[in-house]
């Protein structure tokens, strides 16, 4: 049965039956322990107290408390089991529904707002999960408990029992009436919430447009309409909900009233024992619990059904193609494509009509035509992403509609003009299509992955990513020597080129292009304890600046920075550009302005104020932050403090650090610090030390950046040559593949995204490749690179259909099909079409 047609209870009745039966058994056992205390109550009053038998009193009390404890424990167990069952059912329901949703045809998603799907798959299903757990157990427990208590009461007094029952029929009429109203509002609530979700989703997705048009008020207005509507719906919904609660409570209070009146009368007249009356009263109170539970269950069931139906309704559409072929392996096609009178319409609009063409295996075809001619639609039809409305498409002589998704995916890859990049690393994205085949064993090895990265022109980008990443320690350990060797090359062999742009770490000197934090601590802590933001509160650091008499100097410098920055930039607004030359960040200005107001002309005394100012000082890079200068003499004090810190507080062999620094400068040799044995937390900026929390680039350049020079590109290629000589390029590329691309790949440029998509498709290596303007967003050089790849590597090896806008790229294709208004008007080789001087000829000349 199609998942969307299943009733809600289908899930309850068909899933996890053994567990549900076990739950039922536990419930039955628990029932006994719920009734048993009533009997004990009666006996305590009627027998133990009446007969003044202490032994009996203790026995009954012990049994009473034992039963109550057991009943409570069982109740706890029942709750846990219910939740587990509910969540287990929900897992199945969610997975199956997601499976179904993903397979729905693209046409469905043209109309469906993502907000609706997200809201249905998450919050709405969650609410149903809560109901599912108790769907079977609650009614069974409640009905059984109700009947058992009823039987117990009836055994004591049929008359009183009947009187107690008189109130129930009223509820049976009123509650369903209210519930129907509730359901109506609930449906409206769900629809409205989805619309709200869609509005938010649209605003977030189109946030560029919103900001560039300053359409904040417009978007808020759109949202406000739904927020207000939701308020009115919820208001009515809760009025009805509490109406039902009120009715329930009212009826609950009637029971004891009748009992006291009639039972009391009977007891006074000796027709009813006191013990029985006490037990009856207890039972009467208790019988209301299962009744209430049933009423609540009824409401929850109604609520969950409404939600469930609303969810299933939107996805109630069968998938167009089976996932897997029946009784055979997916076909391996040769790439022969035949279109016979193929057409495609949306409503009455014909987008494609009567397309007849034959594409032989390994033929490369360019599909051209003006915008709206139907070339992309035709590509989508061949990829089985749309279904032809009339005519047919044959792949290797087989009707495309009879092929499963697996058949298509094994044989066709499509690259769209605006490909989607998934959250994750570059590597995840490159392997996405290959992994989708479910065959993790046949993943491309490292060398094929890297050569594909080079083929599509991504090498330089990925290398840059790699250099800016801090790979995990285990990975570094394998290449440590090589990376450190690169450092010695940069500081030795390539010193001339790099000395002007990097101020190399040198333990002897104050470093103008490093922060004061780096100048003082001159190292890094793996645990992060010496990170700038933690330093003001760090005990070792405080001890250091206290002992070295640095604290007042550093706070005073922070105050100077704060005053100058606030004075100069207070009216500038939060433009980051103006804050590049101050250690203060744009968003901190207001806080520091308040701090300065509080201080007036006084000096900072409070610890928090001093810490805030210290933070500015620690971030201060004298060579970059022109907001102020370093006070005379502070540099020497800082270097002295550094030496003290390293030697006395961190136990670094500072002499060895001095010597190795000098040796590196003089002979390009890296000497490690002899004192250290792993593991250690603190790593000083000494030549042979690797800073695991810093990027590869930081570790190789090993110093402060003096300026981003126009020569950077030249230096970059100098460095790359050196990397290549050391055989490090592949390693850095491989590290770069683990770059996180961000949501929808937004940390990549448009060109990078496109190249990743092309590499992803080519790695899958199917016999048919469809490129829907796949290189349109690339620059000319990259476009030519990809085109060359297709011309050479895949010529005669793949059937390629390329939707192309730039006609100068068409001559290398075996054949060109020209579309106009949804019909093929010309086809032939480039030379033939040019000779014919028809539509293609005109198009070429127009471009």
């Amino acid at each position: 049965m199609l998942i969307t047609r299943r009733p809600l209870l289908y899930w309850v009745l068909t899933r996890h039956r053994p567990l549900q039966l076990l739950l039922l058994a536990v419930i039955l056992v628990s029932l006994f322990f719920r009734v048993f205390p009533l009997e004990m109550q009666k006996r305590i009053v009627n027998q133990a107290i009446h007969l003044r038998d202490e032994q009996l009193l203790f026995l009954y009390c012990a049994l009473y408390i034992g039963a109550i404890t057991l009943a409570s424990l069982l109740k706890y167990l029942i709750n846990v089991m219910q939740t587990v069952i509910g969540q287990k059912i929900l897992v199945g329901m969610r997975n199956e529904l997601y499976h179904h949703i993903l397979q729905l045809p693209l046409q469905f998603y043209r109309k469906m707002q993502p907000g609706t799907v997200i809201s249905a798959m998450t919050a709405e299903l969650n609410a149903i999960g809560l109901f599912l757990g108790g769907a079977l157990a609650i009614p069974v427990t409640s009905i059984l408990t109700f009947l058992v208590f009823l039987g117990f009461m009836f055994s004591m007094s049929p008359l009183l029992t009947l009187l107690t029952l008189t109130v129930y029929p009223f509820e049976l009429v009123i509650i369903p009436l209210l519930q129907r109203r509730y359901n109506r509002f609930n449906k409206k609530r769900i629809r409205n919430t989805r619309s709200m979700g869609n509005i938010v989703n649209e605003a977030v997705s189109g946030i560029h447009e919103v900001h560039s048009n300053s359409s904040f008020a417009l978007e808020e207005k759109r949202m406000a309409a739904y927020v207000n509507r939701l308020y009115h719906i919820l208001k009515k919904l809760f009025i009805v909900k509490y109406g039902m609660k009120f009715a329930n409570n009212m009826f609950q209070s009637f029971g004891p009233f009748i009992l006291f009146l009639v039972g009391g009368y009977l007891a006074i007249h000796g027709q009813f024992t006191l013990g029985a009356l006490v037990a009856f009263l207890s039972a009467c109170e208790k019988i209301y619990d299962p009744w209430k539970e049933m009423m609540e269950y009824y409401q929850e069931y109604q609520d969950a059904s409404v939600r469930y139906r609303q969810i299933m309704k939107i996805f109630d559409l069968p998938p167009e193609h089976p996932l897997l072929p029946e009784g055979r392996e997916p076909y391996r096609l040769r790439g022969d494509i035949e279109l016979k009178e193929t057409g495609f319409s949306i409503g009455a609009v014909k987008l494609l009509d009567g397309i007849t063409a034959r594409i032989r295996p390994n033929e490369q075809i360019a599909l051209v035509g003006s915008s709206g001619s139907g070339k992309s639609t035709l590509a989508l039809l061949v990829a089985q992403l749309y279904n032809a409305s009339h005519g047919s498409i044959l792949l290797d002589g087989r009707e495309i509609n009879t092929l499963s998704k697996a058949d298509i995916s094994r044989n066709i890859t499509m690259i769209s003009q605006q490909p989607f990049i998934f959250t994750g690393t570059v590597r995840d994205n490159l392997l996405y299509a290959v992994r989708a085949g479910g065959d993790d064993k046949n993943l491309p090895d490292r060398s094929s992955l890297l050569s594909m990265v080079r083929d599509v022109g991504l090498e330089e980008d990925i290398l840059r990513f790699g250099l800016n990443m801090a790979p995990p320690r285990e990975r570094i350990m394998l290449l440590l020597d090589k990376f450190l060797h690169m450092r010695s090359i940069i500081q030795g062999e390539l010193n001339e080129q790099f000395a002007g742009i990097i101020e190399f770490y040198d333990c002897h000197y104050f470093l103008t292009y490093c922060s004061l934090r780096d100048n003082i601590i001159f190292g890094d802590s793996l645990s992060g304890e010496f990170d700038t933001e933690h330093l003001p509160d760090n005990k070792v650091f405080r001890k250091l600046i206290d002992e070295r008499g640095l604290e007042e100097d550093l706070v005073a410098l922070g105050l100077d920075i704060a005053r100058k920055t606030v004075h100069l930039l207070k009216d500038i607004g939060e433009d980051e550009f103006f804050f590049e030359r101050s250690p203060m960040q744009a968003n901190e200005l207001e806080n520091y302005a308040t701090l300065l107001d509080d201080l007036g002309n006084g000096s900072p005394r409070q610890r928090q104020q001093r810490n805030q100012l210290l933070l500015l000082t620690l971030r201060f890079v004298p060579g970059r932050h022109s907001i102020t200068g370093l006070p005379e003499g502070l540099d020497d004090k800082i270097v002295a403090a550094r030496h003290y810190f390293l030697e006395h507080l961190m136990g670094v062999d500072i002499e060895a650090c001095f010597t190795s620094t000098s040796r590196l400068r003089e002979s390009g040799v890296l000497a490690s610090l002899p004192m250290y044995t792993d593991p250690r937390d603190f790593i000083p900026f000494c030549p042979a030390e690797y800073l695991y929390r810093h990027s590869l680039k930081d570790n190789i350049f090993f110093g402060g950046i003096i300026r981003e020079t126009p020569d950077e590109e030249r230096l970059y290629s100098v460095a790359m040559d050196a990397f290549a000589r050391q055989g490090l390029l592949d390693e850095i590329l491989d590290i770069g593949l683990d770059f996180e691309v961000g949501s929808k790949g937004d940390r990549l440029s448009g060109g990078q995204r496109q190249k990743v998509a092309i590499a992803r498709a080519l790695l899958k290596d199917t016999p048919i490749l469809i490129m829907d303007e796949a290189t349109a967003s690339l620059d000319n050089q990259s476009q030519a690179l990809i085109q060359k790849l297709i011309d050479t590597r895949y010529k005669g090896h793949k059937t390629i259909i390329a939707v192309i806008h730039r006609l100068d790229l068409t001559p290398t294709y075996d054949r060109i099909i020209v579309l106009k208004a949804g019909a093929v008007i010309e086809q032939g080789t480039y030379a033939e079409l040019m000779d014919r001087q028809g539509v293609f000829y005109e198009l070429v000349h127009k471009q």
Binding site: A499, F577, G623, S626, I627, G629, L630
Partner: protein, 179 residues
């Protein structure tokens, strides 16, 4: 690099204070009419760049993105024409000199090269910084542009006079004659 080269950046912070830079900018004719508040912002955003003697400062044909204000040293301005370098002007710190002011207004490639004849220290203001400041004080833009153009014309006149002074006799022609 030996340890003394590393040492050269030691006191870069000195003399880079905004007050000193502002005082220097105030002396330049270029900024005579600029409000103090704006001048301080320029001083804050200006870089101090140092060039050893005989080093190129700008290279003809490379993108021009900043203006140079000479703090100390002497600079020769040359243009390459038909494979030969022609000296156009000598700029020294004495006259509160500057060049590259047009780079503040538009994107273009240097029409000339500038060489440090002695060790040179210059304050530079990038086009980006200039635009950012002008965004904050848009009312000052027309006046500033007009000032840049006027000073440019003065420089043009200077350079033309210099060229005319060095023109060969045979190049002289009566005004109005065709050949």
């Amino acid at each position: 690099m030996n340890s003394s080269t590393n040492n050269k950046h030691r006191h870069n912070g000195e003399g880079s204070s905004i007050d000193r830079k502002t005082a220097f900018l105030q002396q330049l004719p270029f900024f005579h009419e600029t409000a103090l508040e704006t001048l301080r912002l320029y001083a804050y955003l200006a870089n101090i760049e140092k060039f050893p003697a005989n080093e190129p400062i700008t290279v003809q044909g490379e993108p021009a993105d900043r203006m140079y204000l000479i703090v100390s040293g002497r600079i020769g301005i040359c243009a390459e024409h038909r494979g030969r370098q022609f000296h156009l002007q000598l700029l020294s710190a004495d006259g509160f000199n500057y060049f590259g002011e047009l780079a503040l207004l538009a994107e273009f490639d240097w029409l000339f090269s500038a060489f440090a004849l002695t060790d040179v220290t210059a304050l530079t203001i990038t086009r980006e910084a200039f635009h950012k400041v002008m965004e904050k004080y848009p009312e000052q833009l027309p006046k500033t542009v007009s000032r840049i153009i006027k000073l440019r014309i003065e420089r043009f006149v200077d350079q033309t006079h210099y060229l005319l002074d060095h023109l060969k006799e045979e190049a002289w022609r009566e005004c109005g004659s065709e050949e």
